[in-house]
């Protein structure tokens, strides 16, 4: 029964969706304090290479490798984030874009460690490793009526899903707190935020670092799901793809990045016949979104509208006391 429902192909796509959601959130969280970072592909690469190299060369357990990958990316985030404070807007975007390119050039050229363009193959696979451990203690997926590869991808998807739920929970709560309000205040008016006693330096570096950490985390997961990485995976086009997740889905709310990542990952798979025009469509989406709905598909008012509908359904709408002027 379960065996028929779980198609490894679909599980595979779901796992990419889940990784891309983390990437989408990584750019969202930096944007939530008003900073556009186009360097997340670079941070993703740092996370991926760190974890892959540690697990391959030093037989570090995957979990530890992934955590270390994220941390190293986070440390780079701090190192880049502090000097980047002097920059804002387009200057920051370009400097971070430059950072991403420099990282790619380093991955390509530092052949003794990264194997250059050959890439790192034989990165331990998240699912296969867990599977090996489980079979070693005598577990057989047949018990669940699953084939090996079904089971392996089920493991991958479940792990990624848990991680996603944790991350979303984490940032939803953060957004509703003093920290989230400080981010939002800085995004809306940096000078006023400073006058209200918000330490801009700290919060901007914090959000930049959180973004880098998440991107590195996603990169590390990517390495262990693909089992192979090469510098081309973390180039300019990846940076743009991550940007599109957030711009299309909605850059103001976390749900926008999630929706954007999911939609943009599933769309080319579902519409394989248009894949030839995929990048052209990406381009057009960016232009049209900026012209007609710069905040992205999902925005605050849409979410409020949703909440209202849900409340209405439940019949508990007492009115929120909203009195609009104008």
């Amino acid at each position: 029964m379960l065996g028929e429902l779980l198609n490894p192909y679909h599980l595979q796509i779901v796992s990419f969706v889940l990784i891309n959601i983390i990437l989408g959130i990584s750019i969202y969280i930096t944007l939530s304090s008003g900073q556009l970072s186009l360097g997340n592909a670079g941070f993703m690469g740092i996370g991926a290479y760190t974890s892959a190299l540690l697990t391959i060369n030093f037989e570090v357990p995957i979990i530890l490798g992934i955590i270390l990958g994220a941390l190293v990316a986070g440390i780079f985030g701090i190192l880049i984030g502090i000097p980047a404070l002097r920059l804002s807007g387009v200057y920051l975007a370009i400097a971070t874009l430059g950072f991403g390119e420099v990282m790619r050039v380093i991955f390509v050229n530092w052949e003794s460690v990264t194997q250059g363009a050959i890439g790192l193959s034989g990165v331990p696979h998240l699912g296969r490793e867990v599977f090996k451990t489980l079979t070693a203690i005598g577990f057989d997926p047949e018990i669940l009526g699953l084939k090996n590869n079904q089971f392996i991808y089920l493991i991958v998807v479940s792990i990624l899903l848990l991680i996603n739920i944790f991350i979303v929970w984490f940032f939803v709560r953060q957004n509703k707190s003093r920290v989230g309000r400080a981010f939002a205040a800085i995004k809306m008016d940096e000078k006023a935020a400073e006058s209200m006693g918000i330490d801009i330096t700290y919060y901007k570096v914090l959000s930049f670092t959180q973004g880098a950490l998440l991107a590195g985390f996603a990169g590390a997961l990517y390495a262990h799901v693909m089992a192979y990485i090469s510098p081309a995976d973390f180039a300019y086009h990846r940076a743009i793809e991550i940007l599109i997740f957030s711009v299309f889905g909605g850059s103001e709310v976390i749900w926008g990045a999630i929706f954007g990542a999911a939609f943009m990952t599933i769309m080319p798979e579902a519409l394989r016949f248009i894949s030839e025009y995929r990048y052209m469509i990406y381009g057009a989406i960016l232009i049209l979104m900026m012209a007609f709905r710069p905040q992205g598909i999902i925005d605050v008012s849409l979410l409020q509208w949703f909440k209202k509908i849900i409340k209405f359904r439940k019949g508990t709408d007492h009115g929120t006391g909203i009195k609009k002027r104008h």
């Binding site: 390119e101 050039v105 380093i106």
Partner: protein
């Protein structure tokens, strides 16, 4: 060898400079980084290839065709990707950056379909003319490229500082509202600017095609990223800075290949801009103002 490498560097640098001039013009007036500039440049190059190699027409026709096509592209860029965002409430300053990235992706992939993914040769008798000085060979194209880039820079700075249209442009750059109150047709001024910048990209495209005999859809991206680095190097919106920055980067890249590791050639530009942005956000040649970089 050093002399030859310097010539290589100056040729490359002059091309960078022309590309950067287009960037700097748009930034100077609109405060926008036009990420699609590299792709417009690439289109110019392809038009050159089609006119000369495929249709077998003379070079001057190629220039005119490239200028016409890139002018149209420039107009469409302004009309579709920039104007709708201007003066709109609640549009962040990042919106034009993102929408021009959209245009660049669109154009790059469009050219895959129109021209194919591979390299196109740019065959032209003019590109073969060479001058022999001792052991050094200089191609006429190399001299031409340098002359055109200097001429464009001079013409542009003259035009900006001395002519009425240029003054209108600068007034627009200062303050959009004030300029329109003073009777400047800002809409037309902006459109003109974007078109001129695009045309400069198109000219640079043909020159690259002639100098290197290679035109492909990916060239826009790498050239565009270099152009970005240069305007930051030279100071945003600074015409002479763009020229100097372009030459500097061209020579630096050539020298790192000649005496260092060619693998890091592409990193030179980006490492430089990261340092420039952090140490001297106004660029090497920019004026030091209190608020620059913020």
């Amino acid at each position: 060898m050093l002399l030859e490498q310097l010539i290589n560097g100056i040729t490359l640098g002059s091309i960078y400079a022309i590309v950067a001039l287009g960037f700097t013009l748009v930034f100077g007036v609109l405060g926008i980084i036009n990420m699609a500039h590299g792709e417009i440049f690439m289109f110019g190059a392809f038009i050159g290839v089609i006119v000369t190699s495929v249709m077998g027409l003379p070079l001057w026709v190629a220039f005119i065709a490239a200028i016409a096509v890139t002018a149209v592209l420039g107009y469409m860029l302004e009309r579709i990707a920039l104007r709708p965002l201007r003066g709109k409430q609640g549009v962040s300053h990042l919106a034009p950056l993102i929408s021009t990235i959209g245009v660049s992706i669109l154009l790059e992939n469009l050219s895959h379909h129109l021209f194919g993914a591979g390299n196109q040769p740019f065959r032209n008798a003019f590109a073969e003319i060479q001058i022999q000085i001792g052991s050094i060979t200089i191609y006429l194209v190399q001299i031409l490229i340098f002359v055109i880039s200097v001429a464009l820079m001079l013409a542009l700075s003259y035009w900006l500082s001395k002519t009425k249209a240029g003054k209108a442009l600068r007034a627009t750059a200062e303050n959009l509202e004030t300029a329109s109150l003073l009777g400047v047709n800002t809409k037309r001024t902006i459109t003109t600017t974007v078109i001129i910048a695009s045309v400069m990209g198109g000219i640079a495209g043909i020159l690259v095609g002639m100098a290197f005999n290679s035109v492909n859809p990916q060239m826009g991206l790498s050239m565009g990223l270099k152009g970005l680095a240069i305007i930051i190097l030279g100071g945003m919106g600074n015409v002479k800075g763009a020229m100097a920055g372009g030459l500097l980067l061209g020579i630096a890249e050539t020298l790192i290949v000649a005496y260092g590791d060619s693998g890091y050639r592409d990193a030179v530009a980006f490492i430089t801009i990261i340092f420039i942005l952090l140490l001297r956000p106004q660029g090497l040649f920019g004026k030091n103002t209190a608020e620059s970089g913020r």
